[in-house]
C-alpha cells in the first residue's frame, strides 16, 4: 500500500525536477517528492546504509532550504525511516535521530518511534544514549514524560558525561512544558553538579538555577556552595557570575557582600572568558565606585591589545559602556584606545573613537579631531552618525573648543554621506550655535554654504528656518539675504516657501533691510507654486503695515493655539452661518509640551517620524464640558487644573476636584466614587461656600452614584467682576445627596431614601489657576513686542502661589520653554531677577 502511494506521487511529479537555486549543489536537482519516492529504498533488505544516509541527508537539506513537506508525505517517509533502526550503522542511526527531530513538527504519529528511542536510551551502546535521549525529549509530551521519568532520572546521574549532559539539557528544554515533573529531578541534578566533567557541571548548574530561581534563599545557598567548592568549568563560572550579579541586583546587596568578592576574584581566573565575564558584570552593576571599577577596567585595558579581534571588540564595547557613567575611570585607557582607532575591524575602531570622545580631556580635543577626520571617510554611514553624536556630546562638554569642532564639522558636511549623517552634523552645528553665541556667525556661514548644494529638503528648510530666526539679530544680517534669496530662485517648492518665510523675518526685524526685502518679496509673488505665492503675498501685506505688533503675531511667532482646538473651532464656525469673522480668541491656547534637550545619546540615530497631534487633556475636557447644556456660552476653556483630592484615602466617599477656568467663570468638576456597597447615592451635588466675592451660579448634580462607579457633578461659579486681580479664594465644600440603603449582594435599593451630607476638605483657588503656560518660540522677539508699558516689576507673595515656580523661570541660553504668563485680558511678565 505504501509503495503504491509513493509511486502515485512520482507520476504526478516532474521527475526532471526544477532546481531551487541554479547551480547550487548536487542536492538541488531533487525535490522532496523524489526523495519520498526514493525513501522506499528504506524497505529494501538488507538495508543499504550509504544510500539511506544519502536520502536522509537530502531530506534534511531540502527542509533547511525551505522546501515544504506535505503532512502525508512526511508521515510516510517517517514510517519508512523506522525500518532503519534495524541497521547497526552508527552514523545512520544518528541521522535517524536527527531526522526525527527535524520532522517532529510536520509528521503525524511521531510517537511510534518512542519505543525504539527508549530502547536506545537505556541500551548498551553509549554512543546512542545521549542523542536518543535528546530526540526522545523532543517528541515527548506531558503524559509520555511521566512514563519515561524513571529513565530520565537515571540518565541525569549517569557516569557517562554525554548521557548526563543530554538528559540535563533536555530537562531544561522541557521545563516550560512540565515544570512540576522536572522539578522532581532536582536532587539528581544536584548530584550531577558534582561531576568532574566541565560541561556536565555547567548544564547541571543551569537546570538547578532555572528550577530554583524564584526561591532567592535556595539560589543563595546554591551559590554559596558552588563558589566555595571550586568548579572547574569556565562555562559554569560564567553562569555563576551571572547568577551572582542577578542576586546582587535583586537584593540590592552592597558591594561588600561575598557575592561581589566572588565576582571580583573571577578577574583572576585563568580563562579569558571568565575574566571577561567578571569584568563585564562589575561594569554593569549599578552604583559602582571608581575603586571597585578599577580592577575591571585594567583587565579590559589589557584586552585592548590582544591579538584576538573578539577580545578587543569585547573590551572596547565594555569600556564604552563604562565611559557613559564613569568617564574618569576610563581615562587610564586612553592611549590603548587611541591605538585602536586604526584597527582593521571597523566596529572596534568606531567604538574606540566614541569612547575617547566621551572621556577625552579638553586638551586632547584638537588631537582627537585630527585623528577622527582621517578615519571618518573610511567608515560606513551608520558608524559616522554614531561618531557625530559623540562629537556633539563633546561639544557640550567643552564649549570653548567650539571653533575647532565647528571647523571639523563643516569639513564633514562637505564630504559625501547619507541623509542621516548630514542631519546629525547639522543638528550638532545648530546645538553649538545655540549654546555659544560667539560661534553663531561661523556656524551660520557654514550652514549657508551647505544649503547652496544640499539635496535634502528637510535639512534645507530647517536651516532656512534657523537663518530666519538668528540671522536678523547678527551684526550684518544682509549677507544672509543673498543665500536665502538664491534658494528662492533655485530650489524646490518646499524650500522656496521656507526661504520666503525666512526673508520675511529679516524684513520684520531690520528696518533698513525692509525696502530690499519688499522688492524681493514682490518677485516671489510671481512664483509658480501657490504656497510660495500665498506666503509672499501675506508677508508683503503684513510688512507693509510696518507695525511691530503685527510683525510679532504673524511673522515671528507661530500658532500659539492648540491645533486640534483650532480645527474644532473652525468646524464649529462653518456649521453656523455668521456675519462676524472667525475670532481666534475663541480657540483655547496650546498647553505646552516641553521638549527636552537630548542628554542621553542613542547609539544609532533613528529617524523620528513626525508625531501625530493627539488631542490634549484640555481638549478632552473642553469637549466634555461643551456637552453639558448649562455650560454653553462660557467661551473657550482657558485651563484645567490637576485633580485635587478633597477626601482622604480609605473614606466612604472618594471625591476629587478639577478646576476649569473660563474667561469670566469657573466650573468645578467633582469626580465622586461611592465605596459603600450597601448604599446608592442620588442627586449628588457639592455645595460650596466662598470666602471671597465669587458668585455661585448653578449646580449640575450627578444623577446617581451606585457602588464603585464614579460619577461627576459640577458647580458653575462666576469670577468677581469688580477686582479681577482678587482671584484667590477658599471654598468650603459639602457633598449633599439622597441616600438609599441597598442590599449589598444584589444592589437592589430600598424604595425610600433620606437626605444626608458629607463634609469635604476646603478647596482653594489661587493665582495659579488663572495662569497658563504658553509656548513662545521666539522669546526675545516676544519680550520686545510686549513693549515697555506692560512691564511691571512686582513682588508677588509667592508663598501662596506654590505652583508658579516651574512656569516662570526662563532661560535665555537654551530656547526652551519659559513662561510668558497670559491670563484673560492681562499680560503679566516677570522681570528676570
Amino acid at each position: 500500500m505504501r509503495h503504491s502511494c509513493m509511486l502515485l506521487l512520482c507520476w504526478q511529479s516532474d521527475i526532471s525536477g526544477a532546481p531551487n537555486t541554479p547551480g547550487l549543489s548536487q542536492y538541488d536537482i531533487y525535490n522532496l517528492v523524489i526523495c519520498c519516492s526514493q525513501a522506499r529504498i528504506f524497505n529494501e533488505t538488507p538495508i543499504n546504509p550509504r544510500r539511506c544516509l544519502h536520502i536522509l541527508t537530502k531530506i534534511i537539506y531540502l527542509l533547511n532550504q525551505g522546501e515544504h513537506f506535505g503532512t502525508t508525505e512526511a508521515t510516510e517517509a517517517f514510517f519508512a525511516m523506522t525500518r532503519l533502526f534495524q541497521s547497526n550503522d552508527q552514523t545512520l542511526r544518528r541521522m535517524c535521530y536527527l531526522t526525527i527531530k527535524e520532522m517532529a513538527n510536520i509528521s503525524e504519529d511521531v510517537i511510534i518511534v518512542t519505543s525504539s528511542l527508549t530502547k536506545d536510551m537505556t541500551g548498551k551502546e553509549d554512543v546512542y544514549r545521549g542523542p536518543a535521549i535528546r530526540a526522545l525529549c523532543r517528541i515527548t509530551d506531558t503524559t509520555m514524560l511521566q512514563a519515561i521519568e524513571r529513565y530520565m532520572k537515571q540518565a541525569i546521574v549517569d557516569k557517562v558525561p554525554s548521557v548526563s549532559s543530554s538528559a540535563l539539557v533536555s530537562s531544561l528544554h522541557m521545563v516550560r512544558m512540565s515544570y512540576d515533573v522536572v522539578k522532581r529531578w532536582v536532587n539528581e541534578a544536584q548530584e550531577a553538579a558534582s561531576s568532574d566533567n566541565i560541561m556536565v557541571q555547567y548544564h547541571a548548574l543551569g537546570l538547578l538555577y532555572h528550577l530554583r530561581k524564584n526561591d532567592r534563599l535556595a539560589v543563595s545557598k546554591m551559590l554559596n556552595k558552588f563558589t566555595k567548592s571550586g568548579l572547574k568549568s569556565p562555562f559554569a563560572y560564567c553562569m555563576l557570575i551571572r547568577i551572582a550579579s542577578r542576586l546582587l541586583e535583586e537584593t540590592e546587596g552592597g558591594h561588600d557582600s561575598p557575592l561581589f568578592d566572588f565576582i571580583e576574584s573571577c578577574l583572576r581566573n585563568k580563562h579569558e572568558m571568565v575574566v571577561y565575564e567578571a569584568a563585564s558584570a562589575i561594569v554593569h552593576m549599578p552604583n559602582c565606585t571608581a575603586r571597585e571599577l578599577a580592577p575591571a577596567v585594567s583587565v579590559l585595558q589589557l584586552f585592548c591589545s590582544s591579538p584576538k579581534a573578539a577580545l578587543r571588540y569585547a573590551a572596547v564595547r565594555t569600556l564604552n559602556k563604562v565611559a557613559m557613567k564613569h568617564p574618569s575611570a576610563v581615562t587610564a585607557c586612553n592611549l590603548d584606545l587611541e591605538n585602536l582607532i586604526t584597527d582593521s575591524n571597523r566596529s572596534i575602531a568606531t567604538l574606540a573613537i566614541t569612547t575617547l570622545l566621551k572621556t577625552g580631556s579638553e586638551s586632547s580635543v584638537d588631537r582627537l579631531m585630527k585623528q577622527i577626520s582621517s578615519f571618518v571617510s573610511e567608515i560606513s554611514d551608520e558608524f559616522k552618525v554614531v561618531v557625530v553624536q559623540a562629537i556633539s556630546a563633546l561639544c557640550q562638554k567643552y564649549p570653548r573648543k567650539h571653533s575647532v569642532m565647528m571647523n571639523f564639522l563643516s569639513n564633514m558636511l562637505r564630504d559625501d554621506g547619507g541623509f542621516e549623517y548630514k542631519r546629525a552634523i547639522v543638528d550638532c552645528i545648530i546645538s553649538i550655535i545655540e549654546e555659544n553665541p560667539e560661534s553663531k556667525e561661523t556656524g551660520l556661514a557654514h550652514l549657508c554654504e551647505f544649503i547652496e548644494d544640499c539635496e535634502h529638503t528637510v535639512l534645507a528648510t530647517k536651516i532656512l528656518h534657523l537663518l530666519g530666526r538668528e540671522g536678523p539679530r547678527t551684526p550684518s544680517p544682509s549677507k544672509y539675504i543673498r543665500f536665502i534669496f538664491n534658494r528662492v530662485v533655485l530650489e524646490s517648492e518646499a524650500v522656496r516657501a521656507a526661504a520666503v518665510s525666512a526673508l520675511a523675518k529679516f524684513g520684520a526685524q531690520n528696518d533698513d533691510l525692509l525696502p530690499s526685502v519688499l522688492v524681493l518679496m514682490q518677485r516671489c509673488m510671481m512664483d509658480s507654486d501657490d504656497e510660495v505665492r500665498d506666503r509672499a503675498t501675506f508677508y508683503m501685506n503684513v510688512l507693509q503695515q510696518k507695525q511691530k505688533a503685527l510683525n510679532a503675531a504673524y511673522i515671528f511667532n507661530g500658532l500659539s493655539v492648540s491645533v486640534p482646538g483650532l480645527e474644532k473651532s473652525l468646524h464649529q464656525y462653518t456649521l453656523e452661518p455668521s456675519e462676524k469673522p472667525f475670532d481666534m480668541k475663541t480657540v483655547p491656547l496650546a498647553t505646552t509640551t516641553v521638549s527636552e534637550q537630548k542628554t542621553e545619546l542613542a547609539p544609532v540615530a533613528s529617524s523620528k517620524l513626525p508625531e501625530k497631534l493627539a488631542p490634549s487633556r484640555q481638549d478632552i475636557y473642553q469637549e466634555q464640558l461643551a456637552a453639558i447644556p448649562e455650560f454653553q456660552g462660557l467661551g473657550p476653556l482657558f485651563k484645567s487644573s490637576e485633580p485635587v483630592q478633597l477626601t482622604e484615602a480609605e473614606t466612604e466617599y472618594v471625591v476629587r476636584c478639577i478646576k476649569h477656568t473660563f474667561a469670566s467663570h469657573m466650573v468645578f468638576q467633582f469626580d465622586c466614587t461611592n465605596t459603600l456597597n450597601d448604599q446608592l447615592l442620588q442627586k449628588v451635588v457639592v455645595q460650596m461656600e466662598p470666602s471671597e466675592a465669587y458668585e455661585i451660579v448653578q449646580y449640575v448634580p450627578a444623577a446617581s452614584l451606585p457602588y464603585s462607579q464614579p460619577g461627576s457633578c459640577y458647580s458653575l461659579v462666576r469670577l468677581p467682576e469688580d477686582d479681577p486681580t482678587a482671584v484667590s479664594c477658599t471654598f468650603s465644600c459639602t457633598m449633599k445627596y439622597l441616600v438609599r440603603d441597598c442590599d449589598p449582594n444584589t444592589g437592589e435599593p430600598d424604595d425610600d431614601g433620606y437626605d444626608d451630607e458629607y463634609v469635604l476638605e476646603d478647596l482653594e483657588v489661587t493665582v495659579a489657576d488663572h495662569i497658563q503656560k504658553v509656548l513662545k518660540p521666539n522669546f526675545a522677539a516676544a519680550w520686545e513686542e510686549v513693549g515697555d508699558e506692560f512691564e511691571k516689576e512686582e513682588t508677588f507673595a509667592l508663598a501662596s502661589v506654590r505652583t508658579l515656580e516651574g512656569n516662570t523661570v526662563n532661560s535665555f541660553k537654551k530656547n526652551c520653554l519659559m513662561g510668558i504668563v497670559i491670563a484673560p485680558d492681562w499680560l503679566y511678565t516677570h522681570s528676570v531677577a
Binding site: 549543489s25 536537482i29 513538527n105
Partner: protein
C-alpha cells in the same frame, strides 16, 4: 512537544546563549542554518534577508566579529565557506568564539583540512551531526573538538556520490521507478 527555548530578557542568567549557526557559501547562499531562537526570524524570508545582510557585512572584511541588527556575530571563513555563530548583543563574545572555533576545528579534522564547499556537501551528514553535538536548542552542549569528534565518530565518504554525473543519478532514479512499476 516544541523545544521551548527561553531566550529570556537581558541579563537573565540562562544556558541559552546561541541564537543561530550559519554556514554560507561565497555567494551568500545558505548551506546550513539552525535558528535556535524561534522568535528571532520566524519565517524563511526573514532568515534569508538576515543571511544576506550578514554576508554583505562580513565577506569583504576579514574581521572576526561584527554587530548587526542588535546581534553579535562571530565568523570565520575558509576557501569558499563562511561560518557564523550568532548571539545577543549582551552575550559573552568569547563564549560565542569558543563555539565557532569548536565547530570549525571539528569540521577541519573531519574533512581532513579541506574545509571547502565541495567536501562539505559530500559529507553533509557528518556536518549535521557535528552541529548537533555542539549546540542543542541554543545551549552549548560541547566545546572541545576532540570530544565532538569522538561522539560523532564519522568517517569521511571515500566514494562520494557526486562522482557520478548528475545525469547518471537522474537516469538511475528514473530506471528504478520504471522497474518498480513493472513489478
Amino acid at each position: 512537544a516544541e523545544v521551548s527555548c527561553t531566550f529570556a530578557t537581558d541579563f537573565e542568567p540562562s544556558l541559552y546563549t546561541v541564537k543561530a549557526v550559519l554556514i554560507l557559501d561565497n555567494d551568500g547562499n545558505r548551506l546550513l542554518s539552525k535558528y535556535y531562537d524561534t522568535e528571532l526570524y520566524p519565517s524563511i524570508k526573514e532568515q534569508k534577508n538576515f543571511e544576506k545582510s550578514v554576508f554583505n557585512k562580513s565577506h569583504k572584511a576579514d574581521n572576526e566579529i561584527a554587530f548587526l541588527e542588535g546581534l553579535t556575530i562571530v565568523y570565520k571563513s575558509s576557501v569558499d565557506l563562511f561560518f557564523y555563530v550568532v548571539g545577543s548583543a549582551q552575550e559573552n563574545e568569547l563564549m560565542l568564539m569558543m563555539v565557532l572555533n569548536c565547530l570549525f576545528d571539528t569540521l577541519s579534522q573531519i574533512l581532513r583540512k579541506n574545509v571547502e564547499k565541495r567536501y562539505l556537501l559530500d559529507n553533509l551528514d557528518g556536518v549535521y551531526l557535528v552541529v548537533d553535538e555542539i549546540i542543542d536548542g541554543g545551549i552549548i552542549l560541547e566545546s572541545d573538538p576532540q570530544q565532538v569528534i569522538q561522539k560523532v565518530n564519522y568517517r569521511v565518504d571515500e566514494n562520494p556520490l557526486s562522482e557520478q554525473s548528475v545525469a547518471q543519478v537522474l537516469q538511475s532514479a528514473k530506471e528504478q521507478i520504471k522497474w518498480s512499476i513493472l513489478k
